[in-house]
C-alpha cells in the first residue's frame, strides 16, 4: 500500500505522527533513565515506598476480585439477554471513564462516609472506609470496573449462543452451560479484562486521594513526595511505577495477542 501514501502527504503524516510519538515516549523514557538503577533499587528498599506499592497491588487485586464476582455475571447478561433499561446499565458501566475522579471520590465519600447511612452500617461490623484500606479498594473498584465488564461482555458476545444451546440439548442446565461452555471460551477476554482492570487500579490517584490519603497508595506517595520534598524525591518512585506498569502492559498485550491467535 506504500504507493497510496506517496510523496508529500506521506512525509507530512510521518512528521506529525513522529511529533506525537516523541511527545509520548520521551518524558516516560527520560523519567525512567534519569534515576540510576542503584537509586531505583534503593528507593524500592525504602519501607514507605515498598509498603505503598504492595498496598496498591493488593488493593487493586481485591477490587479486581470483587469485580470478577459481581461484574462477570453482569457482563454475561449484557451479552446474552435483552432487558428493559439495558442501555442505561451499559451507560452506567462506562460512566466512570468520564466522571472526574476527584468528583468520584467525593461521591464515594458521600456514600461510605462515617456519618453516612452505609458507612455507619459497615462500621458496626468493623469495616471503616475513610482513611482506611477498604476505602482504597472501593475507590479502585468504582473507577476501573468498566474495563473488566466491557472486556468480559465482548468475550461472551464472541461465543456463539448456539454452542450453549447444543450443550442444553445434551443435558446441561443453564448453570452448567455457562461454566462448561461460555466461561471457558470467554476466558481469554476475561483474563485481559482482569489484567487491564488491575493495571488501571494501580494507576488510580484522584478518587483515592480524596477517600484515603493515608494509608498511601503509590500514586498518592508520588504526589506527597513531590509536594513535600520536590521533584527529585518524587522521580525515583514515579520511575519505579512506570516500569511496573510497562511490564504489566506488555503482559496484557501478549495475552491479547495469544487470544487473537487462539
Amino acid at each position: 500500500m506504500k504507493s497510496l501514501l506517496a510523496d508529500k502527504m506521506c512525509v507530512t503524516f510521518v512528521f506529525l505522527g513522529a511529533l506525537l510519538f516523541f511527545f509520548l515516549a520521551w518524558p516516560l523514557f527520560k523519567t525512567v533513565t534519569a534515576s540510576s538503577p542503584a537509586l531505583l533499587w534503593e528507593t524500592l528498599l525504602e519501607v514507605e515506598v515498598r509498603n505503598a506499592i504492595l498496598r496498591t497491588f493488593y488493593a487493586s487485586f481485591l477490587a479486581t476480585a470483587i469485580a470478577f464476582f459481581l461484574g462477570v455475571p453482569l457482563a454475561y447478561m449484557l451479552a446474552r439477554t435483552e432487558f428493559p433499561g439495558q442501555e442505561l446499565v451499559q451507560g452506567l458501566i462506562d460512566l466512570p471513564i468520564v466522571v472526574p475522579h476527584s468528583a468520584a471520590g467525593i461521591a464515594l465519600l458521600m456514600f461510605f462516609g462515617r456519618r453516612m447511612w452505609l458507612g455507619r452500617l459497615f462500621e458496626r461490623v468493623g469495616i471503616r472506609f475513610v482513611s482506611n484500606f477498604p476505602g482504597i479498594v472501593i475507590a479502585l473498584l468504582f473507577v476501573s470496573l468498566s474495563f473488566l465488564v466491557n472486556a468480559a461482555r465482548e468475550g461472551f458476545e464472541a461465543v456463539d449462543p448456539r454452542l450453549e444451546r447444543v450443550a442444553r440439548t445434551l443435558g446441561a442446565s443453564p448453570w452448567q452451560a455457562f461454566w462448561r461452555i461460555s466461561f471457558p471460551l470467554a476466558w481469554h477476554s476475561i483474563l485481559s479484562g482482569l489484567i487491564l482492570m488491575w493495571a488501571r487500579g494501580l494507576s488510580e490517584f484522584g478518587a483515592v486521594v480524596i477517600l484515603v490519603y493515608h494509608p498511601m497508595v503509590a500514586p498518592v506517595l508520588i504526589y506527597e513526595r513531590f509536594e513535600s520534598f520536590g521533584l527529585n524525591y518524587a522521580r525515583p518512585v514515579a520511575a519505579l511505577l512506570i516500569l511496573i506498569c510497562l511490564a504489566v502492559f506488555v503482559l496484557l498485550r501478549l495475552t491479547a495477542r495469544k487470544r487473537g491467535a487462539g
Partner: protein, 357 residues
C-alpha cells in the same frame, strides 16, 4: 387420541414469534422410527422451527408432544432431543473425544463407561482416529460426524438435523448422506432432517414435508411429492423431473443396469446398490418406431397425459413407470400425439443422473 400414541412427535397449533420470523398454527406428526425430511427454501424459518421443538426458543402457543408427553413445561436439557446444526457447533475448547462425551460427562457416568461409549460411537461414525484432535483441525465432514456422535451418545428420543449436509462439499455431503441412512437403519432413531436440497430429501426421507411461508404445504412419500405436487410452489420448488428408485446391477462390459419394477435402464455410474436416478424431461426423445441410434434406452409406452407448459408441451408416457418428457408443439403435431396412443421413448445412458441411496 390415537394419533398421539402412534406418533413419536406431534406438534399442534404451534405459534412462534421471533422478530422477522413468524410461525402460526403449525402442525406436524412424525411416526415412531421415521426419517422425516422437511424440505423448504433457505430462510423459510426451518432452524427456528427445530429450535422451538427442542425448547431452545420460547413458544407462544400450541403443544409439542413427544411419545405422548407434553414438552411445554420442560427445559431443553430434560426433553431428550438431540440437535445437530449445519455448522457443527463443536465445542472449540474440547477435543473430539471430550465433545462426544459431553452429554455423559454431565450425567456423571464413570470414566470407563464414557470411554467405552465414545469409542463405540466413534467407531460407528468412522472417526475413531480423530478422538484426540481439536475441532478446528478437522474437515467439515469430520466435524459433522463428531457432532452426530455427540448428539447420539445420550440416546435421544428424537434427533433434529438442521441442514446437516449443506456446509459440506458435494462429495463429502454424499458420503455423509449415505452414513445418515445407515445410522438410521441401525439405530432406528426418530429423525427430523431439514434441508433445501431436493436430492438429499429424496435419498433419505421416509416422508417429505414441503415447507413454505411457515406452513407445510404437502406431506407424503418422496415419489408422491414429485409425481403429484399439491401446489404450484411445490411443483416449482421440486422441479419437473423424472425420479426413480432402483437397484443397480453391474454388467461385465462396464455398463450398469438400473432395475426398476418393470424395466431395466442402462446407465453410466460407479455407484452400486440401491440408488435414485433422475432424468431431465428435455433428454427424452419420442418416436413412432424404435430408434436405431446411440440412445441406449428405448421403450414402448402409452401416453397418459399431454399438458402445455409455456413454450413446451409436457407429455407423460407410462411404460410403467411413467416418464415425463417435454417436446415442441410442432413435434406434437408431426407425430400426431394424443392421450392413449402408443409411442417409443428413447434416452441416452449418459443422460441418466444417478445419486445416493
Amino acid at each position: 387420541m390415537n394419533v398421539l400414541v402412534e406418533n413419536a412427535l406431534v406438534v399442534q397449533n404451534l405459534a412462534v414469534n421471533l422478530g422477522d420470523f413468524y410461525l402460526q398454527d403449525f402442525n406436524l406428526e412424525v411416526a415412531n422410527g421415521e426419517y422425516y425430511v422437511i424440505l423448504g427454501p433457505t430462510g423459510a424459518g426451518k432452524t427456528v422451527l427445530l429450535e422451538s421443538i427442542a425448547g431452545l426458543h420460547p413458544v407462544e402457543g400450541g403443544r409439542i408432544l413427544l411419545a405422548g408427553e407434553n414438552l411445554s413445561a420442560l427445559p431443553p436439557e430434560r426433553r431428550g432431543i438431540g440437535f445437530v446444526y449445519q455448522d457443527y457447533m463443536l465445542f472449540p475448547h474440547l477435543n473430539v473425544a471430550q465433545n462426544i462425551a459431553f452429554g455423559l460427562t454431565l450425567r456423571g457416568e464413570p470414566a470407563a463407561v464414557i470411554a467405552e461409549r465414545v469409542a463405540e460411537l466413534a467407531q460407528l461414525l468412522g472417526i475413531a482416529e480423530l478422538l484426540h484432535r481439536v475441532p478446528r483441525t478437522l474437515s467439515g465432514g469430520e466435524q459433522q460426524r463428531a457432532a452426530l456422535a455427540r448428539a447420539l451418545i445420550v440416546k435421544p428420543r428424537l434427533l433434529l438435523l438442521d441442514e446437516p449436509l449443506s456446509a459440506l462439499d458435494p462429495e463429502t455431503s454424499l458420503s455423509l448422506q449415505r452414513e445418515l441412512a445407515r445410522l438410521h437403519r441401525e439405530l432406528g432413531t426418530t429423525t427430523i432432517h431439514v434441508t433445501h436440497d431436493f436430492e438429499e430429501a429424496v435419498a433419505l426421507g421416509d416422508r417429505i414435508a414441503v415447507l413454505n411461508e411457515g406452513q407445510l404445504v404437502q406431506v407424503g412419500p418422496p415419489e408422491e411429492i414429485f409425481r403429484r405436487p399439491a401446489t404450484r410452489f411445490v411443483a416449482r420448488f421440486v422441479g419437473a423431473r423424472n425420479i426413480f428408485a432402483g437397484e443397480l446391477r453391474h454388467l461385465d462390459n462396464g455398463y450398469s443396469h438400473l432395475q426398476l419394477p418393470a424395466i431395466d435402464i442402462a446407465v453410466l455410474t460407479e455407484l452400486t446398490g440401491r440408488v435414485h436416478a433422475s432424468l431431465r424431461p428435455e433428454d427424452i426423445v419420442l418416436s413412432e418406431e424404435p430408434l436405431h441410434s446411440s440412445a441406449r434406452n428405448c421403450f414402448r409406452g402409452r401416453i397418459v397425459e399431454i399438458a402445455e407448459r409455456g413454450m413446451h408441451i409436457a407429455v407423460t408416457v407410462s411404460i410403467p413407470p411413467a416418464f415425463t418428457c417435454v417436446i415442441t408443439r410442432r413435434s406434437l403435431e408431426e407425430l400426431g400425439l394424443h392421450v392413449g396412443r402408443e409411442i417409443y421413448l428413447s434416452f441416452k445412458a449418459s443422460a441418466v443422473h444417478i445419486f445416493g441411496g
